[in-house]
């Protein structure tokens, strides 16, 4: 039974991470109806930012500032940079195509993803960069319940992940910006006629979504301890799956989907074999799409003429 709960904890941690990436992806899909394939690569950029912040402050063995401050700087720097990149990508590559056929921005998004991945290869090289998390956050500093151990990085990822998700939910439901986002998602033209600054709203959505991906990237660096230029692709793919399973465009759906994928992955790795993880996650996606094509929490949209 201990093994079961251990896998559950590991799955929830990874799931919280996927949820964050899926959230940004789902938000962007909500306002633009665009699958932002570059989203996973912003996660990769966030992970690299975290790595360079650690190096900047003296490396994992000889940090010149206290660890909590370092973590805050890592998260803020990654969020700001990836958020800014998200806004730039939207402005540069997606905005000119807003009225183009639907397939055009999708192809641009693939191009951006490929460009970012290889720009990172050019700038940072192809080798793995190691965070060395255990050097500054001790793994034994967590707590144990019976035979299940939860280390402090996992606690941080789960707590921060849930806090961000709840915060985002509140932002979308309660604030004026959130209301604008929902209006743009529902009908962009009508929103524009009512005096909503659509461009600003979309830019803000991209900033928030991309910043979440950056934060998730830093978390991934701390959790998995290594970064390279290709980590974005698979993470992006998992996030797409999470968003689709939960119901694309729905915020609680993205959270649920991410946690579900994370836990499923963890159990498959633990009880079956790590070889088949991705194949079985794919099978899960197909199964959900066959039974509930609009996802678990998605709403069925009627097609308007």
């Amino acid at each position: 039974m201990g093994f079961f709960f251990q896998e559950l904890v590991n799955g929830l941690t990874v799931g919280a991470l996927y949820s964050l990436v899926a959230l940004g992806f789902s938000m962007v899909y909500g306002v633009l109806k665009l699958l932002n394939f570059a989203h996973g690569d912003l996660y990769m950029v966030g992970a690299f930012v975290g790595y360079f912040v650690i190096q900047w402050f003296g490396g994992p063995q000889a940090l010149s500032i206290p660890v909590p401050l370092l973590l805050v700087i890592m998260f803020v720097a990654a969020a700001l940079l990836t958020g800014g990149m998200g806004v730039a990508i939207e402005r540069f590559a997606y905005r000119p195509l807003r009225n183009a056929p639907r397939i055009a921005p999708l192809i641009t998004a693939i191009g951006i993803s490929f460009f970012l991945e290889n720009a990172a290869l050019l700038l940072f090289g192809g080798q793995f960069r190691i965070y060395n998390t255990p050097d500054f956050i001790s793994f034994s500093s967590g707590f144990r319940i019976g035979s299940v151990s939860i280390d402090s990085v996992q606690i941080m990822v789960i707590v921060l992940g849930i806090a961000l998700m709840v915060g985002l939910r509140q932002l979308v439901v309660r604030t004026k910006l959130g209301k604008q986002m929902r209006a743009v998602a529902a009908d962009r033209e009508a929103a524009e006629m009512l005096g909503i600054n659509v461009n600003l709203t979309i830019a803000a959505t991209f900033f928030l979504g991309s910043a979440l991906a950056g934060v998730a990237g830093v978390m991934a660096g701390l959790l998995f301890n290594q970064v390279t230029n290709t980590i974005g692709f698979l993470a992006g793919l998992k996030a797409f799956t999470a968003a689709v399973v939960g119901g694309i465009g729905s915020i609680p759906g993205a959270m649920l989907g991410g946690l579900l994928i994370g836990v499923a992955e963890s159990f498959i790795t633990g009880y079956v074999s790590s070889t088949y993880t991705n194949l079985l996650v794919f099978a899960l996606l197909i199964a959900v799409m066959l039974v509930r094509p609009s996802g678990l929490l998605g709403q069925v949209r009627l097609q308007k003429v």
Partner: protein, 482 residues
């Protein structure tokens, strides 16, 4: 790099697309004899042009291609075949198929299993005329199976499912049943393509075969384009709802496009496998898919000739020319110059930009050299004429890696800025942008052709869709505002 927005064309923009203009003889031709050639080309019809292009392709080895050039030619032809098949799905039916190379992989692996010692004690050694149709049909069925779960859904879902399918294919061949699929080591020792006692073993024979296969496929697809099914695909692409109300079975038509694309991909895969004599899972991964997309988008999605030409251009330039530091320099600076000539008007402004760029370079080089000798000690990494011309113009430090990387980031920011601003400032910013591009090229890009190749492919996708969505040869579609 769209530098200036195109001048508004005379006459109504809305509703008068290429097809209407041609039907009503309202199309304008290029001035002078170029227009005459253009008109003659249009009068020629499609099949003589295709035959001429095919004959030119067949004649190309006669001028004496070396082993490397021939291999580049073969790879380019395989990608052209793939692009022509992808055009069915993306260009005509308007579905984003991101698992397309997996169907090529199915073709390659299917052929490998049917013509090697992999299955059973003696293996299966079928004739190519038997095994290739089998793998094509298997791939088409797989296409239906992959498309089926998302049959009720929008194209977006299909894109995700296909992307995952592509990944799953690589995972599958890497991990499942290593005895049969060979795991990461793939399947070695395939039979050559053979039938009726003839077997193709030399690279020349594969080159000729691929030219013929490509021409025949293009002819078949051209007939398909104007057939009932082809018109149904294009109707579904333009408006699925309108197509459905015209009694076109939208889902069936989409799945058919999927299956047809998969068949062409499988054909390309089988020939590719036979020429390589082996198959590996890594050959059918996402980077290869992006190459095929770049070719299709560059040439123009929706046009058969465009797809083939775009793929050939992308492959010949990026796989062949880019490997040589001399020729890649010609292409790089040539494309910059051509873009400037095409986009900068009037001529006076073009002259000013070029003069300012040249002056900036010499001034910067002189100043940097005066401050520190090591700042200019590197010298351009291009070779040949370009290196001689640029020696005193572009700054290349003795240790160019780090400055080159910063230059790259700055260049990307500068290019994004260039697109955002208008008017005089854009012209002024253009000068440092060109210089910086040359700096980045000489410091890091030219030394790493494989990374440069990938970056260029990404850039092609982004820039072409934004600047010229119809590609080089595609037809412009005018959107009627709703």
């Amino acid at each position: 790099m769209s530098l200036d927005s195109p001048p508004p064309a005379a006459g109504p923009q809305v509703g008068a697309d290429e097809w209407v203009a041609r039907q009503e003889h309202r199309r304008e031709y290029l001035p002078s004899w170029l227009g005459t050639v253009q008109q003659a080309g249009e009068r020629l019809g499609w099949w003589p042009k295709l035959v001429l292009a095919g004959l030119a392709g067949l004649a190309l080895p006669l001028i004496g291609l070396g082993g490397f050039q021939l291999q580049v030619g073969i790879d380019s032809l395989v990608v052209a075949l793939l692009a022509v098949g992808l055009n069915i799905v993306v260009g005509w039916a308007g579905i984003l198929d991101l698992g397309y190379v997996a169907f090529m992989g199915i073709g390659a692996y299917g052929f490998a299993l049917l013509s090697s010692a992999q299955i059973g004690s003696a293996g299966i050694h079928l004739w190519a005329v038997v095994s290739i149709p089998i793998v094509m049909i298997v791939a088409a069925i797989m296409g239906l199976v992959v498309g089926w779960p998302s049959r009720r859904l929008l194209g977006d879902y299909l894109a995700i499912v296909t992307l995952f399918f592509g990944e799953a294919f690589v995972e599958f061949t890497n991990n499942v049943a290593p005895g049969t699929f060979g795991g990461p080591n793939g399947i070695p020792g395939l039979d050559p393509l053979r039938a009726f006692g003839i077997s193709l073993t030399s690279n020349e024979s594969y080159y000729y075969l691929l030219v013929i296969v490509l021409v025949v496929t293009m002819a078949v697809l051209r007939l398909l384009e104007t057939s009932r099914t082809g018109r149904a695909w294009q109707a579904v692409r333009e408006d699925p709802l309108a197509a459905a109300s015209m009694t076109i079975p939208v889902n069936r038509v989409k799945l058919m496009a999927f299956a047809f694309g998969a068949m062409v991909a499988a054909l390309a895969g089988a020939i590719y496998a036979a020429q390589q004599i082996s198959v590996f899972p890594g050959d059918f991964d996402t980077p290869f898919l992006i190459v095929v997309y770049a070719g299709l988008i560059l040439g123009g999605a929706g046009s058969i000739a465009g797809a083939a030409t775009g793929a050939l251009v992308v492959m010949v330039i990026l796989d062949g020319v880019l490997r040589s530091p001399t020729y890649s320099g010609y292409i790089f600076y040539g494309v910059i110059l051509l873009t400037l000539v095409a986009k900068l008007r009037p001529w006076r402004r073009l002259g000013m930009v070029l003069a300012a760029t040249i002056a900036l370079g010499f001034a910067a080089h002189a100043i940097a050299g005066a401050i520190s000798a090591t700042a200019v000690a590197g010298g351009p990494q291009s070779t040949g004429m370009i290196a001689t011309a640029l020696r005193d113009w572009v700054i290349v430090p003795a240790n160019p890696q780090t400055p080159g990387k910063f230059g790259f980031v700055l260049l990307v920011c500068l290019l994004i800025g260039l697109v955002q601003i208008q008017g005089r400032w854009r012209t002024i910013l253009l000068v440092p942008a060109i210089y910086l591009a040359s700096f980045v090229w000489e410091t890091i890009l030219v030394a790493q052709p494989s990374v440069t190749r990938q970056l260029m492919i990404g850039a092609i996708l982004i820039v072409m869709i934004n600047a010229r969505p119809q590609g080089l040869l595609g037809k412009r579609r005018v959107e009627v505002p709703v």
